[in-house]
Subunit: 112 residues, 2 copies
Amino acid sequence: MNHHDKDLDQVFFALADTTRRGILSQLINGKSTIGKISQPYSMSAPAISKHLRILERANLIKRSKIGRQHHCELTTAGLKTAEDWLQFHREFWKTRLDALDALLGKSDPKGR
Amino acid sequence: MNHHDKDLDQVFFALADTTRRGILSQLINGKSTIGKISQPYSMSAPAISKHLRILERANLIKRSKIGRQHHCELTTAGLKTAEDWLQFHREFWKTRLDALDALLGKSDPKGR
DNA sequence: ATAAAGCTTAACCAATCGGTTAAGCGTTGT
DNA sequence: ACAACGCTTAACCGATTGGTTAAGCTTTAT
């Protein structure tokens, strides 16, 4: 398993949880404190803290401290890793499906 | 947690494993028997069978039987689910980052 | 100086994961 | 008829997950 595989494992793993995806959705609106982030969830602070660590490990967010408040904001690296894998695969995949359609004589292979 | 969340959980979970991603990569070359699929892996047949069930549950592949051979092929639904989520989020995200760049007076907000 | 706020770390728990071996089941070859 | 093939299901195992509570640590407020 090479370096890239581990990155992909961590990113997809991080995204495979509703709470973590919810946190990312929140952060689209900009940097936020951890207190605010946890507000919608009926979950203890340590639980949120763990989710954030997983998102951080996957390079989906980064954290910073101002006074006693900890802040989180989005990072592009993680999402790019995931998107690259998906797009690469879906492109090849689609090509094959188009070829199959052509072979079967379908009328509009592009119009799927 | 709504229906869509469960779908996303299952797709991202399925993709968060090197073996399972490897299987998908193989299947880009077209439909294949399960025997052939397991060949590159030093893993028992039941282990592969489990991975395939997880990929199936996520609508990433579908299985069929011809005689005593079981075949697998790719499906578009699962990958589309994942890509839609990612693209939606990266779009919003990028917009915000561009806005931030503009605010900071960077020269080429599109050229990232 | 002390208390409270805002979070993290540590220790623990049940449930799930990724693998195993053993057994089963339909299909094919002899 | 029966053995081998191709794969799945069942039962089991240690490790990891997602949550908990209790304790700790730094910063702010009184």
